[in-house]
């Protein structure tokens, strides 16, 4: 816990905003959490008063909320021993040489370009897609799309921001959303105007210079009526960070007839506690799709959810989890049917290896009056050896009429017959196993953009060889 965080948030104000912090004014990153630190964060960012108050109120809530007593074991987190905000200069102390060898090896094997590697490893905040980014940004601006980091959005579009911020996930939702609300920094802000279809998937990647992968990032996406956007967060290559706690909040509003797809591929290094709250509100005839891949981290607790607020809304969660040695992936999805005639599906695929543990935890809630809803949940788990563990905990609450609800789950190993078939054709065992695993998660991979799918396949291959920590 007490390690020094290195990927930091809010570091490059000077370059970006011409906001100069005098050298003699030392904003010492203090450990721990108190109202003074929260006020300082807000001051450093030059935020309006309402946001400062919001943060302070959230801190109060965070203090009052008990730790969740279910799911993964979180008792080792020491909130008083975490840096909640850091300044630029501390970042430069880190160099390529400091990276653990297994992370470097993975970059090699994945064929990640040097510049990108450094970016991923938090050594450099620069990434060479700047040109691409600029032309994309121009194109978007023409259509009226806003795509900014969340801090800039608060500055540049204060009214729009205030209207939606914190409305989907209030600070009091859970302990970690309260923490995020108190100390958030970075993340993406997207607004898609009425009728606009954004053809190119938007990636946090493109938004260079901004704090993409902060510890307490905060993302807000608003899809106005009849619009479409696909947002991609993270990447398949392992993200090295010495921060031990990653607690993001993602809020999405999908208005009438709009569609939003949110793809996450996260591969945190295995010292990270990844505790994320993701929720979308889908209105009339809107579609919300979460495509969620969890590979790294020590513990992940993440249940992307969709609140189906008006008739005709549709929610979809497609998630995979891979747990290796010492990892616990407690992932799943939530579908809250508030309105009648809404539909949802959750598909979960999990793989456990070398003593790893994957848990599916889901909740389907159908409120009184939300009649004629349909919901289907399917969970498949693959256990690769006899040390690993898989659990399924689906919670279903149906309080409405004429509801059709289904849940199916299977747990199995790589079948001997499949292995035999491949090996009889001269394919070595390890390779055959990898093929079977890749086949198992294929429904997920085929939803990814090509370059991600290729990388994910390669990564699974590495994980299967046991060559990656």
């Amino acid at each position: 816990m007490a390690t020094q965080p290195k990927i930091e948030v809010g570091s490059d104000y000077k370059e970006k905003y011409g906001f100069f912090v005098p050298e003699d004014y030392v904003f010492k990153a203090k450990r721990g959490l108190n109202p003074e630190i929260v006020k300082e964060i807000s001051f450093m960012k030059g935020e309006p008063e309402w946001m400062t108050k919001f943060r302070l109120r959230s801190l109060e809530i965070f203090r009052k909320k008990p730790m969740p007593n279910w799911g993964a074991d979180l008792s080792v987190i020491d909130f008083e021993n975490i840096f909640y905000y850091l300044r630029a200069s501390e970042k430069q102390s880190k160099s390529w040489e400091d990276l653990p060898p297994d992370i470097k090896a993975t970059y090699d094997r994945l064929g990640v370009p040097e510049a990108e590697r450094k970016f991923l490893a938090g050594v450099s905040a620069q990434y060479e897609s700047e040109v691409v980014y600029h032309s994309l940004q121009e194109n978007l601006t023409k259509k009226g799309v806003i795509f900014l980091d969340t801090d800039s959005a608060l500055r540049e579009h204060p009214d729009l921001f205030k209207e939606y911020f914190g409305t989907v996930i209030p600070p009091a939702d859970n302990k970690f959303s309260a923490l995020n609300s108190a100390v958030w920094s970075g993340g993406s802000f997207i607004y898609v105007p009425k009728g606009v279809h954004v053809e190119v998937p938007l990636q946090a990647y493109f938004r260079i210079n901004a704090e993409n992968m902060g510890q307490f990032e905060r993302t807000l996406i608003i899809c106005d009526e009849d619009s479409y956007v696909h947002y991609i967060e993270g990447c398949t290559a392992p993200i090295y960070t010495t921060d031990s706690l990653h607690s993001a909040v993602v809020e999405i509003i999908v208005k009438k007839n709009a569609r939003c797809r949110y793809t996450t591929i996260q591969n945190w290094s295995t010292n990270v506690f990844n505790l994320v709250t993701k929720r979308a509100m889908a209105y009339q005839d809107a579609t919300m799709e979460w495509v969620d891949g969890n590979l790294g981290s020590q513990i992940t607790m993440k249940y992307p959810s969709v609140y189906l607020m008006e008739p005709g809304a549709k929610g979809d969660v497609l998630s995979i989890a891979f747990a290796g040695k010492g990892q616990h992936q407690d992932a799943g999805g939530k579908m809250i049917h508030v309105a009648p005639n809404t539909t949802s599906t959750i598909t979960s695929k999990s793989i456990s290896k070398a003593g790893g543990r994957t848990s599916y935890r889901g909740h389907i809630k159908i409120y009184p009056g939300a009649n004629n809803c349909k919901s289907f949940v399917k969970c498949d788990a693959l256990l690769l050896d006899d040390e690993s563990r898989s659990d399924t905990y689906p919670y279903n609450d149906v309080d409405a009429e004429n509801v059709t609800l289904g849940h199916e789950a299977t747990v199995s190993k790589v079948s001997d017959e499949q292995l035999f078939y491949l090996m009889s054709r001269g394919i070595p065992r390890a390779e055959a196993e990898t093929m079977i695993v890749n086949g198992f998660i294929e429904p997920f991979t085929k939803e990814l953009p090509l370059e991600y799918a290729v990388e994910l396949n390669r990564l699974i291959q590495l994980e299967m060889e046991g060559s990656v920590g």
Binding site: S388, D391, T392, T404, G406, T410, S412, K413
Partner: protein, 397 residues
Amino acid sequence: MGITAETLDQLQGEPGWLRERRESALSAYGRLPLPSKTDEEWRRTDVSRLDPSQFSRLEHLDGQKLVLPEALPEGVILEPLRVAAERHRDLIEPRLFSLVHADRDRFTALHAALFTGGTFLYVPDGVVIDKPIIGQHFSHESGTGVLPHTLIVAGKGAKFHYLDEYIAEHDDETGYRSGSTEIFLGEGAQVGYVAVQKWGRNVWHFSDQRAELQKDSTLRLFNVTLGGSFSKTRVEASLVGEGSNAELKAIYFASGDQFFDFHTLQDHRVGNTRSDLLFKGALQDVSRTVYAGLIKIAKHAARSDAYQANRNLVLSDKAKATSIPMLEIDNNDVRCTHGATVGPVDPEHLFYLRSRGIPEPTAKRMLIQGFFGDVLDRIPFEHARRLVEAELESRIG
């Protein structure tokens, strides 16, 4: 009148060891808190309105009516449990409440403290009984407590069928009912066990059925839940011997404002074990049901096969079924599947039948019968099957 040592005084003529057991269970009852809504198991199951002490007058002290095959084979013991406690202490003392623990919660404690009638069945090694043994437990009065307990011990290779019937004399009686069963299956034993719960519509009912299966034994358990305004049933099987096989099936039919809760456990402690669970229920009117089941496969229980399914047919707009099938799998060399469905009668099926001129009520009845059909076929013996079919027929009506 509360539940005190005086309540126990209604149960005279028992050996000292049993009295001591009851006293310790009674103190557990006093000590254990009432389950609250924050316990996952009780989150949807509300017992806050229940005060067992108003039913502290116990009924049915002399056991039950036993319907026996004409002659029991040599060595078979079939006696009221309280009588057997005196005569066969060596067989009963180590087993009684060793599967259904008295201190699990307030209601198991109450059951262990106050169990009234019930049966002890001991079938020695290698003995086969062809005809089913039937224990009928009656309640005659309103406002009483009736708490029969069945203890079954099957020796190596023993083979027999047993039926517990819980019957109310008056369908509208109130009271506290608790019918629990412990089954021990020795190596290679084959036991068919059926429990049919038809208590009155206004009673509180708690039941724990738990079996322990040794090597190569087979249990076919079938539970039928029809009565009670509140009924909570746990069905649990511990597979402790390789090659053991537990088949756990149940049907329930809830109507009016009945509330049924089922918790099941398929506990695979060793490898090469098999369990197959299917709970099917239909709900009418404003009834509610909760099903929560867990398959647990221990670390070394390789080559185990487990199946778990809960299917709910919701026949009314106001009825609610909750289904929570869970898995905890600690070994990869297993096959596990589970599934749950909640839904109304398929409109296409209904349309198909109606298009052939079958009136809607008849078509609906046929579909309900069809829904239960595959599980009724799994009732382990003929007598019970006829009984359950007739019972169901009258309710679907």
